[in-house]
Symmetry: D3
Subunit: 200 residues, 6 copies
């Protein structure tokens, strides 16, 4: 169980020398542990939102915050340009609480296709100080409704939530998913599919 | 833990009368348990593939196979018409082994957007007797490559894997996700979005 | 497993009528779920720090944020008066990431008595935008070093982390732990013990 | 948790060179992962049932299907000669769904000795397309009732279910369990015990 | 997770009135909890070993020690008459540490049939103050080697380990497993099988 | 999961040569496993209670009983001089059953500070053969009430429960927790704090 061991830090040298990773990360010798192993800075640094979506997500997952190893929790900071969008995506291994630090966001998630009622959009407009829950592995998004930047802090129930952005996962893969598959899946012509694929 | 209790069957009467469900299902009195509580029929019955996608998935999840309660395993039978497609989808709570019982299938899954390398399509053509693994919560699909029907059996690592079909989860929600959000997410015009949404 | 079910909300009426709780909370009928069930407000509202310690912790645990049921994550907001202290305490069921939103905090945790090296204090001064990890169930504290109020946001790896404040758990119990036990445990006279107990 | 990591493949070279195994398997470098790492063939290949029991079990566990590492699911194919038997056995670490692909099987499992009612045989005759659940670690068996071969597919809730065949575990150990112990346990003479032991 | 909640006691009245059990036990109102809810007596009371096996196991599982609910631990006291036997059995849901309080015991367990090396008997003679580990769900036994009574204390990694005694689970079921199945499984005549079955 | 693998022993040579530990312990080659790997002696050996507290705890955790690796259970023997005290402490990763083997003990634990009712002392006097449960990570103690030595056996729900003794964790850390923090936390003068700190 993840709570079986006190604190297990990634021991970078071993990893890089051996080029081996196990079901988790190798641990640092407890005698060598120091305060900086538990420390993180930069949560207050805005990400660069000058991109097509107008948003930027800074992840604080175990890969760049090794103190989280075995602890089943992590974070992310999300910056939104005016009218910026954190597009539909899901986290394969985590539930999320999103807290609005600045601005006004329209947020939503979609229930599963076999859930009853199916494919229900659960959405709400959030103000500064509001929070919303996105249950594990469900598609969700946030849209900045204001003409000022917005900021949110997300907390996750896994050290390694991972992110699947729908547009990239379906239309921006390497290699591409064959267009005859996507055309049938989305019930549109191959040319529409190719138009979308060309964006990614 | 799910393995803490022998066998915990859903006690339908209690559920239907009380309209209450707990974190799982209510158990049947062990003195009333009989063989039929563990039994399922119809795995050999083809589903009706006369639909736009040319495929049909018959789920054997805990909701219709209550013996699976607490056991962390379930199944599905998938039928494919000639050139039928089980479109891109994912299971929020389960990994899957897909085994081909009849026919030839092109299958694939996509790695996560934050995974390195990101959004990689891992695909292969499977023949009868072949199997493929779709890790938990990753987008995957199967395409019948033959002009004959195909059949596959899927096994899952959860009693309740759930299914999120990408097209329905994004373009067929109730209510709809606003078109200005999807247009920005997929980098196409609102009219293309509305065209796709109109199919669902 | 906690990730076996989509979203399981506490159904308050059932709980209050039946005065019964199971190993978790009773679920709301999915057909009755709405956006407000996932919503929380007030994370931006400062707590009242006019008390002996000069700090106030506002918990957002499953008990007052029922959307968290089965999701293994929760939060707290901590306000510190100038030189205020969140005194030594531990969470029996959660690891924590503490992020400084405003001010300068001295934070620390103590390794276990059987850990090698034992009873090591791991501490650091944090500025705005810094974070620190307190591993599950270890004693930790935060001290505001500045003459201005400070604010931090804590995230936890459990829906119900619980809190054990050392001073209250040892010297403020109901009934009191006998003074001859505490005198021997802390190697001081009973009068010193009674002096401390009288504060709680 | 098993769902904390995307996909962790056994990296055979590392394992064989170092002769070390950890609590799981060492992972393959994600940049080297390819479709064949998730692929399995031969599920349609009948096992050789020309043996005393008239059955053969082909396991697809993590040891020979490394893609299953961390995914908590696995499979087996069971072939039965006419009137062949898969003898009483249990899986220490998995529940099972058995699906009949061909033929007619009498199947059963036994509840625990401390369960109430104790040592109850739960059995049923299955036809093609029927399935039956064997809860984790309970003794179960399948008997081909027909004069034609039969085939079943078993799915398990563990990547490494393991198998304990009662006859071999009790009467075929190395070294043997002393006959005075087995004679008392089964309440028969030592000569009967030795007769059974001589078969294994 | 079992460690998500403080202490969840079985609330007997609710259970008996409603004849319903969930995936665990219903909890007592925290305001009504008292010391006796955590208390057990009688661990020092010898069991009656005047039976064919010359042993008696007193279980302290969640069913008769409700304080253990959700805590993943339980115990048993085992008394052995001179040359008494605790016969081959396994616990479907727990590992065990057996500690000898009085006397001399020969103990052993058997590795799995698919384990390499398969069906290996791991055994040793224990004296007072010795302990031995029986890993989860493996067949094990203890034989008193002395002409005086012996006593052992067993601790388990589950609140509800359950017990499957091989002889009863195979030869003493209700109804009986058909003799043609057991004759083939143990490779002896039906008459030998019936002789054994008649003992149970 | 901890129950995914048969038996995983720490392979000391590998550990000492490589100076690396992973999220658990490295496993011994199954072909080299022997009975002594599962064996422990000395549970009947009294600890030396000639110290200020008049008690001694002998741990049988995975660190000195490697057979426990992955098995989620461990033990401790506690010896008490006449009127000896096992002082207030908690186990960050385990629940405990304490069984009195000899003597008369006053035992107690304290509920959490946010639990309702908060900081409640649950205590009872135990005689030989009595047991008491201390739920995971709650502060508890045992006081020998008699003028003869007492002995207890503790069983834990983790292979590595760890121990946090309150006095040492708060007043005996290295380096010390600043006295202005402890003075405010316990609402006494710095001189009282320094008096206590000087004892450790």
């Amino acid at each position: 169980m993840s709570h079986c061991y006190l604190q297990c830090l990634r021991f970078s040298n071993v990893l890089s020398n051996h080029a081996v990773s196990v079901n988790g990360y190798v641990c640092k010798d407890p005698n060598l542990v120091q305060a900086d192993d538990f420390f993180l800075s930069g949560v207050n640094v805005p990400g660069n939102t000058s991109n097509a979506l107008g948003s930027y997500v800074t992840h604080f997952f175990v890969a760049n915050y090794p103190a989280l190893n075995t602890l089943s929790v992590s974070m992310a900071r999300i910056d939104y340009a005016p009218y910026g969008l954190n597009p539909p995506h899901y986290h394969p291994r985590a539930s999320e609480i999103l807290t609005v630090l600045e601005g006004t966001l329209e947020v939503g998630f979609v229930t599963s296709s076999t859930y009853n009622p199916a494919n229900q959009l659960i959405s709400k407009v959030l103000q500064k100080g509001d929070a919303f829950v996105f249950p594990e592995a469900l598609v969700h998004f946030q849209q900045n409704l204001g003409h000022s930047p917005a900021v949110a802090l997300a907390t996750f129930s896994s050290q390694n939530p991972d992110v699947n952005t729908i547009a990239n996962t379906v239309f921006g893969t390497n290699p591409e998913i064959p267009s005859y598959i996507l055309a049938k899946a989305f019930q549109v012509s191959k040319s529409v599919i190719k138009e979308i694929q060309s964006q990614f």
